[in-house]
């Protein structure tokens, strides 16, 4: 009878734990230690001080982010209020000829009522309860929309974490990706 997945994983886990000691011991002895060393001091952790104290002001952060995003090949628009979002997004998606849209299951996005403002599009909301369906929808959608967790001005990057309501596929699989970056989430570095 074929080995069950659990039995298979347990067997591999057992092998792994058996090998770990020899593997680490070999490293320790090569480094001239009899056993693995204790917790090492790591005083030079992370970026140099001149960098950790580097801070752009609010306005600079926005401008720098937009410049860098464009330089990397993207488009940006700066909006004064959330109210302008639906119009701009609808215009952008129509211009790009999108016919289907998938969005993260974020309450701020629900409030934008895409279904109402873009009735001609096919709409899907990311749902972790039906993973296979959600994956297929994301792979077929022309556009994906998400609210960024953070954005980084210095490199022009957006940070997307995944969770039950935020699928990686939404920001990855569609050809068009629209990230909404609340200005207060924009960090210098």
């Amino acid at each position: 009878m074929a080995e069950s997945n659990l039995a298979f994983l347990n067997r591999l886990e057992g092998d792994s734990r058996k090998q770990q000691q020899a593997f680490i011991q070999n490293i320790a002895s090569r480094l001239g230690r009899l056993n693995e060393g204790g917790i090492p001091e790591h005083p030079l952790k992370g970026a140099p001080d001149f960098w950790t104290s580097y801070e752009l002001d609010y306005e600079e952060r926005i401008l720098r982010f937009m410049d860098n995003w464009r330089a990397a090949g993207g488009f940006t628009e700066r909006l004064a209020t959330y109210d302008e979002l639906p119009v701009v997004i609808a215009r952008t998606l129509r211009e790009l000829g999108a016919q289907s849209l998938i969005r993260q299951n974020q309450p701020e996005l629900a409030q934008l009522e895409f279904e109402r403002i873009l009735p001609e599009l096919q709409h899907t909301v990311w749902s972790a309860d039906k993973p296979q369906q959600a994956l297929v929808a994301a792979s077929q959608a022309d556009a994906g929309i998400a609210i960024a967790d953070y954005a980084v001005a210095y490199t022009g990057s957006v940070v997307m974490t995944s969770s039950k309501d935020k699928g990686r596929s939404v920001t990855l699989l569609p050809n068009i990706f629209i990230a909404i970056v609340p200005a207060e989430r924009l960090k210098t570095r």
Binding site: S16, F23, I24, R30, E36, W51, K130, A134, L172
Partner: protein, 500 residues
């Protein structure tokens, strides 16, 4: 896999140097990458401080690799990752194949990973009839050409768009124009279908974060993120030295790696993956395996000459800066890794310097690799140590051995040396034209094929010394007694071996 013919670097280089397409393609792209790096580092500023910090973080991690690796393993396990150990290349391939077999996988989709090349994972899957598809565009191209990568970052650097169009047209079953956009579009569509079908996603790993057991992958095409998002099972191959202690340290690596590799501020995607899909998540792999590979890396630990080799972050900047690589391309080097890092890494990982023959000689020792390296690895020094070991292990060519023996005899006897110089002065008369020797007769050819030999002067330095020294002494101000005593003391000290 097909690679240029020839058993030595020299033979393969000779083939490469005749290939104009290759030379032009490599020169064009390395130049672009090199200039991109220079511009990006200048714009960012304080580059030397960043390099120094990068070097210190990597050196610290390697010096405590036992601790950080254990920490990484425990944290990854706590997140639900299955961790495996591969002391040798074959172990890594065996474990990956076992996982694929258990899941009755029909296809594996891969993102770019030099370790997977090192352990020949594609061949291992193919033997079992499992399709293994490269999803990085460059890797896909060379997979179609049945060739190994010729650059750490740009695996198909040696191909121009006409050659790529030919390869992809065969795959498409129709003629595709040699336009980058069309070619990339075709490959993307083709690969996209493969993602959705694949049972297993196989990735490499740029950095492992010890404090959280996470894997970090830098890439530009989004394919590695797809490989680690869509298939149900993910296998990550990680060289055991890929670690950094903390996420704070990643900021330094994320500053150094993309700028050094391609001149970007950051790659288009940087994914941090901490374990497989959590129960509530909708995507990501259900099962995640990390295979930690030694395959000769531990041999460098504790070796004062080579431990720093493990600091490498595989950015490829040393390749782009190397005058030798830029001429002969990556396939002239033996093994998976090419350029200056390959010239040191390949023999180092393979224990036996003799077997790898002339690769340590494929360098002018100019130090451009060190200047380019974001973590300051002294590759040019290591190449000298390698040459030294090669000689000590008795792997020198017979001709070179004889020449060195002759040189030793000549240089240990003044009389013999003078005679040889005299004979040279007479003998060269037949060959000297306008103060240089251009003749390619016999053993002279090795030198004169590419440059001229300056003629021996009619009077040697030694013959001139008597007159010169009188002149020097006459023009020198007399030495103060204090200086004289100090110098005499120094000479005395040196005679005692410099210990007093």
């Amino acid at each position: 896999m097909s690679k240029p013919q020839g058993s030595s670097v020299k033979q393969r280089s000779e083939t490469a140097l005749k290939d104009e397409f290759l030379i032009d393609a490599v020169k064009f792209t390395t130049e672009k990458l090199k200039n991109g790096k220079l511009a990006a580092t200048a714009e960012h500023g304080n580059w030397e401080e960043w390099r120094e910090r990068g070097k210190l973080i990597r050196a610290h991690t390697i010096a405590h690799l036992d601790f950080y690796l254990n920490q990484f393993i425990e944290n990854a396990r706590a997140q639900g990752v299955h961790v495996h150990f591969a002391p040798e290349a074959k172990d890594a391939a065996r474990i990956a194949v076992e996982i694929a077999k258990h899941h009755q996988a029909k296809s594996v989709v891969k993102s770019k990973s030099m370790v997977s090349e090192e352990v020949h994972i594609n061949e291992a899957f193919e033997e079992l009839g499992i399709e293994s598809v490269e999803s990085d565009l460059g890797e896909y191209i060379i997979q179609l050409a049945n060739e190994p990568p010729s650059h750490i970052i740009i695996p198909a650097i040696h191909k121009n768009r006409y050659q790529i169009a030919e390869l992809l047209s065969k795959e498409a079953g129709q003629t595709l124009p040699p336009e980058t956009k069309v070619l990339a579009g075709f490959a993307r569509q083709k690969l996209r279908d493969k993602f959705l079908e694949a049972d297993i996603g196989l990735t490499g790993c740029n950095f492992g974060i010890a404090e959280s057991g996470s894997v970090v992958i830098f890439e530009n095409e989004g394919n590695a993120r797809m490989v680690s998002t869509v298939p149900k099972t993910q296998i990550t191959l990680m060289g055991m030295e890929r670690l950094i202690p903390t996420w704070d340290d990643l900021e330094v690596m994320a500053t150094l790696l993309p700028r050094s590799a391609t001149g970007q501020k950051l790659t288009v995607y940087m994914s941090g993956i901490t374990g497989p899909r959590r129960q509530s998540d909708g995507d990501g792999p259900e099962e995640m395996h990390i295979i930690i590979v030694d395959n000769g890396r531990s041999l460098q630990l504790g070796d004062p000459d080579f431990q720093e080799l493990l600091n490498c972050i595989r950015c490829g900047a040393c390749l782009n800066a190397c005058p030798v690589y830029r001429h002969i391309g990556g396939h002239s080097y033996p093994g998976t890794y090419s350029g200056p890092i390959g010239a040191v890494l390949t023999p180092a990982l393979n224990k036996n310097s003799g077997e790898w023959e002339d690769v340590a000689n494929a360098s002018s020792l100019c130090g451009a690799c060190y200047e380019a390296c974001p973590v300051k690895i002294p590759l040019h020094d290591m190449l000298v140590y390698l040459r030294n070991r090669k000689v000590e292990d008795g792997h020198t060519a017979t001709g070179e051995k004889m020449a060195m023996k002759g040189f030793k005899v000549l240089m240990s006897s003044y009389k013999l040396y003078s005679k040889a110089v005299k004979m040279g002065q007479v003998g060269q008369k037949l060959l000297v034209r306008n103060g240089v020797i251009k003749s390619q007769l016999g053993p002279l050819k090795g030198w004169t094929a590419y440059r001229h030999i300056p003629a021996l002067p009619t009077r040697s330095f030694r013959e001139q010394w008597k007159a010169l020294s009188t002149e020097v002494e006459a023009s020198m101000p007399s030495m103060s007694s204090e200086t004289k005593t100090r110098l005499e003391q120094m000479v005395l000290n040196r005679k005692k071996g410099g210990h007093e």
